[in-house]
């Protein structure tokens, strides 16, 4: 009872600070860590600045865990709270000011701030940078899979296949045009042009995946449920085996040497675009048609909804973003093999979707971030990781059958609204 009251108090006071305040707080914490992180770590007998809030140390060196907790408290929690609550009045006034300006301006400001935080925070180590990028790619994958599995309610298992198509298409594009490659020979265009054409490469990757999605979308007109799951699973294996047998793209050995164009700003921008567009789509009546098709197709048809078009759009749209994420992934890890886009990746992605919450943009972000983190934390356990993650999933399914945060998308206006007015309105 006391605990619930305490929790309520924490929650209410946290809600009284607009997101701008939290972002500024996080930025200060990131700067603080950059400045004194190393010295503080040495003082606390830590070998280095703990890369992911010390979570990775949990299994690597449990004895250091208390020290990392203290580190987190001193570097992150206290400064963030101090700045957030200290500037509360100021940030709330800023939010009130921004409320009467165009929404995109406020949204852009927050995004820039978010990027700045990530940028400063990932300065610390290459490991942190790579994990951040992979998490953002995972967010895109989870969200796009949620469009098909959550919003449209088809159990599609072909996402790694779409991702592979995107990864290979984008890689072939950049390798042929911009690099001296052992598979494709000399570059056709000067390498300096490359980064400018990279969005095009990603787009081509996305479109290839979207075309591939037709193979799953068209059977979905006639069949649903388990049968479609099997068809989509078959599609994933077809893509994998097909790539394994195409020698020009490296066959089973894979394809390497992609330029490292998936930099932090690129991945961040792609993720922000992905979230923005998908969030826009699922909030429109056109996007809600996916829910209508999921909940009752006959009724959807009788209410003038073009169900075939809706299914096709959902599959192609989801696959497009999987393809883009695949392209980003290929240029991040810089070596892709068809074997990597297999059942294990599928399991991971499905875990993210179902853990985070079905039919939910917020849930997808939460699911992707938390499962990626858990996955990093459990890395020292090796294969046993795959005992723990499914166990978590089973527990979630028992206690929250639709996932942690189901049925919630971003209402940007409401998130950015000043808190004082919001609180008053609630009263």
């Amino acid at each position: 009872m006391r605990l619930a009251a305490l929790w309520g108090w924490v929650w209410r006071s946290a809600a009284a600070v607009p997101p701008l305040g939290w972002l500024i707080g996080a930025f200060c914490a990131a700067v603080l860590e950059l400045l004194i992180g190393y010295e503080l770590a040495i003082m606390l007998y830590l070998p280095k600045v703990p890369p992911l809030f010390g979570a990775t140390l949990l299994f690597q060196n449990p004895l250091l865990f208390p020290a990392t907790l203290l580190f987190d408290l001193l570097v992150y929690i206290l400064p963030v709270c101090a700045v957030a609550f200290g500037t509360q009045r100021l940030t709330d006034r800023a939010a009130a000011f921004l409320e009467h300006r165009p929404t995109w301006l406020a949204a852009l400001m927050h995004l820039v701030l978010m990027y700045a935080i990530l940028h400063v925070w990932t300065e610390a180590s290459a490991y942190r940078l790579q994990v951040s990028k992979l998490v953002m790619i995972a967010v895109m994958l989870t969200l796009s899979l949620n469009v098909i599995n959550g919003y449209m309610g088809e159990f599609s298992c072909s996402h790694p296949g779409f991702m592979a198509l995107g990864a290979y298409a984008a890689s072939v594009f950049t390798l042929v045009l911009f690099t001296q490659d052992r598979l494709f020979g000399p570059a056709l265009l000067p390498a300096a042009l490359g980064p400018f054409c990279y969005p095009l490469a990603l787009f081509i990757g996305g479109m290839t995946a979207a075309l591939g999605a037709l193979v799953v979308a068209i059977p979905s007109f006639r069949t649903r449920g388990d049968y479609l799951a099997i068809i989509s699973l078959a599609f994933m294996f077809i893509v994998k085996s097909a790539i394994e047998n195409i020698e020009p793209v490296g066959g089973p050995r894979g394809m390497g040497g992609q330029p490292n164009w998936s930099t932090l700003p690129v991945v961040f921008t792609a993720m922000a675009l992905c979230i923005w567009i998908i969030n826009n789509f699922v909030r429109s009546t056109l996007g809600k048609a996916l829910n209508a098709v999921r909940d009752n197709e006959t009724a959807a048809d009788a209410m003038t909804i073009n169900t075939r078009r809706t299914k096709m759009v959902a599959f192609m749209f989801g696959a497009f973003w999987a393809g883009v994420a695949g392209g980003l992934y290929a240029h991040e890890v810089r070596h892709v093999t068809p074997g990597g886009f297999g059942i294990q990746m599928l399991a991971e992605q499905l875990a993210m979707v179902y853990f985070g919450g079905l039919n939910s943009v917020v849930g997808s972000v939460v699911g992707a971030v938390s499962i990626s983190m858990v996955s990093e934390v459990l890395k020292p356990l090796g294969l046993y990781k795959w005992l723990v993650i499914p166990l978590i999933l089973i527990l979630v399914m028992i206690f929250r059958p639709t996932g942690l945060i189901a049925f919630r998308d971003f209402d940007i206006k409401r998130i950015l609204a000043p808190r004082k007015a919001a609180l008053k309105r609630r009263e």
Binding site: A292, N296, A302, I305, T307
Partner: protein, 256 residues
């Protein structure tokens, strides 16, 4: 000119003759009843006309244009709205979302607008919302607008389904047992609602019903269906006194 004309519609499910030589001419603004015992093929007739099944033989014309072979959503877009016997509602959607959804074919923005949130999309969504709220008010379910539809009382769910059907701007409305499972009070209320939509929207209505009182009160003409064939057609008075109808419903009088 007739609004909806069905001629010699016949349908087989495998070897089963579900509907045989069904004819219907529906004039604008008419309310027509379709009665018959369980399994007579009433709902099948609805499904055939609305395109869920394609009739084996026969023609269906809406405003003089053939609609056989069109997909259900195309037929619905041409002006044939319907409700379902077991209320096919979308269980995760709110009442307002239901009615908004039924504006699908009228939306004046495309995927681009949906993805990037064009100004036109927001204008359009606003228009749709206003119209949806107006419909909810007509059917007296406005107070449930933001609730998930499955949390509503039964009668209100029925009215939501009707509001949803009306949002597609039908010229002909098919009602499949609109009073199934209703109490007598709700039934009287439903008569009022159907009269109201009939006057307000000027639609022709074809309704399937089991409760004779309800049909007799509303319909100008009634068809009686037995084993897929129309055995009697006429005014409520004629139907009530038709010996074949009585036989179909109550059985033959046996002389001991």
């Amino acid at each position: 000119m007739s609004l909806l004309r069905v001629t010699d519609m016949t349908h087989f499910f495998g070897g089963l003759r579900a509907v045989y030589r069904y004819n219907l001419t529906l004039a604008p603004g008419e309310i027509r009843g379709l009665i018959g015992p369980n399994g007579a093929g009433k709902t099948t007739i609805f499904n055939l006309i609305t395109g869920i099944h394609t009739p084996s033989r026969g023609t269906v014309a809406l405003e003089g244009r053939n609609i056989v072979g069109l997909r259900p959503h195309e037929i619905a877009t041409r002006g044939l709205g319907r409700t379902f016997q077991n209320m096919l509602l979308w269980r995760h959607m709110t009442v307002l979302e239901h009615v908004r959804m039924a504006h699908y074919a009228q939306l004046q923005y495309g995927l681009f607008g949906a993805f990037f949130g064009s100004p036109r999309r927001y204008a359009e969504e606003e228009r749709v919302e206003a119209n949806s709220l107006r419909l909810l008010r007509i059917f007296d379910v406005e107070r449930y607008a933001r609730q998930i539809v499955t949390s509503l009382p039964y009668g209100a769910q029925r009215r939501v389904e009707m509001a949803r059907a009306m949002a597609t701007r039908p010229k002909v409305l098919f009602l499949d047992e609109p009073t199934a499972g209703m109490t007598p009070e709700e039934l009287t209320q439903m008569i009022g609602i159907i009269r109201k939509i009939h006057q307000e929207f000027q639609v022709a209505i074809l309704l399937i019903e089991h409760r004779l009182k309800f049909v007799m009160e509303l319909c100008q003409r009634i068809q009686t269906l037995v084993f897929g064939e129309v055995i009697a057609e006429g005014t409520p008075e004629e139907i009530k006194n038709n010996p074949e109808v009585i036989e179909a419903y109550l059985g033959k009088e046996e002389v001991a």
